[in-house]
Symmetry: C2
Subunit: 225 residues, 2 copies
DNA sequence: AATGATTTGTCGGCTATGTTACAGTTCTAG
DNA sequence: CTAGAACTGTAACATAGCCGACAAATCATT
């Protein structure tokens, strides 16, 4: 029964959909299944054995701390996303951890080495996984080049657009996003100061392009972003 | 004989070193083997069939053009590097091309689909390749976060340091780099205006940290960068 | 050797954005 | 219900680095 649970938790992910029950049993080791609450911190890069994680429920942010102690948001992970040592290469020096944003999350994980074995036995999965990593790379490239070449306003617009696309719910002609980020979070994601983010958001609100509150963000007309 | 040539040209790359002669024959299709001269432009994203390229000799830059016609340097490719559709996913919209920087280059290429077949038959190669793509991703992340969080001067320093490490020749306690980039190129790589790059380089020269000419750059004391 | 093209050098004004600083608002935990 | 913490709002000021403009130097081609 517990075995079955594990099975479904992985099967769920599109990457693993092609695998048989038996094959997933090979990856028998969802050694970790964890729940956590808002604000909790989950260390993963420095964990004993390198792992790959799968977020089953909720939202987390990946935060990196540099030498000077500055925090930067590396990524926002949503339900269904993989995170951790996706490159299959343990990286001791990257000083990253995950912080829970939503009220509670559920995470499962498996050992990198076990995953490698599975890939070796399933070339087509290996290929899919490579493409998956590649896609991730492309996304990163894209968002970074936005960060570099556009000004803060454009970056905010782009961010909201992406967010709406990923998680927004269309209600009539508006898009409603559940807002689990603080303005500071948003600022960090689009790489600007909190103040500028605040200003821009307020500006958009007075313009009537969005309705902002701590609970949700409503975008009037997504095509105008 | 010609077959043998192809073989060696691939065998050369560390990724393919583990493959047998026969396996490389499977990838029998180094359909392209091309030479080009300085300034030439090589289109690859829009090429008929998606390919993966291997630069055998020389240096090229990967340039992307955005909607407004602005050119940005995406990458500098050196002898031995792979480039092209590394993610194994044809990408029609990325408007990229390669421009030859050194006096002449030699490039060989093979079809993405053939490469995929090879990966399917060689799980361990697939794994290596995944790690290779992963590594590339990590590098990109790294350099981008430099671009974002550091100022132009630090970026230039970092760039010179990397360049020296990759290509510099140690002569006594100095490092000499063959300079095939214009100041404009450098500016684009570190994402600043040409003027600022010029200013910073001159500043470094008067400081005595580097000796700059169009042919070569000499770094006095690399540890001081 | 000459001419045009490319690359480099330099300057002053301008703008977006970070910084510092503080006040008001909303949430949270006891 | 209340105090403290965490967020949000606003403003003045400083500045890195972009941009336009143009001159000087170097390279490439005939």
């Amino acid at each position: 029964m517990y075995e079955d649970l594990k099975y479904w938790y992985l099967r769920d992910h599109k990457l693993f959909r092609t695998l048989s029950f038996g094959q997933i049993r090979q990856l028998c080791i969802i050694t970790g299944f964890k729940k956590a609450k808002k604000g909790e911190i989950i260390y993963f890069s420095s964990s004993d054995l390198p792992r790959i994680f799968l977020l089953k429920k909720g939202n987390i942010k990946i935060v990196a701390v540099d030498e000077d102690g500055n925090e930067t948001i590396k990524d926002i992970i949503q339900k269904g996303d993989l995170f951790g040592e996706l490159t299959l290469e343990a990286d001791s020096q990257s000083n990253e951890y995950a912080k829970v944003l939503s009220n509670d999350v559920a995470i499962c994980s498996f050992l990198m080495s076990d995953f490698e074995d599975l890939l070796l036995r399933n070339p087509s999965l290996a290929l899919s996984y490579t493409k998956f990593v590649g896609l991730k790379m492309k996304r990163i490239k894209n968002s970074y080049s936005n960060l570099i070449s556009k000004d803060a306003k454009t970056r905010l617009f782009q961010f909201l657009k992406d967010w709406a696309e990923k998680e927004g719910k269309k209600i009539e002609d508006k898009v409603v996003i559940e807002n689990y980020l603080t303005q500071n979070d948003i600022a960090q994601i689009i790489c600007t100061s909190r103040q500028t983010a605040t200003q821009l958001l307020n500006e958009m609100e007075t313009n009537g392009t969005i309705i902002y509150s701590r609970k949700e963000i409503i975008i009037r007309d997504i095509s105008k972003l």
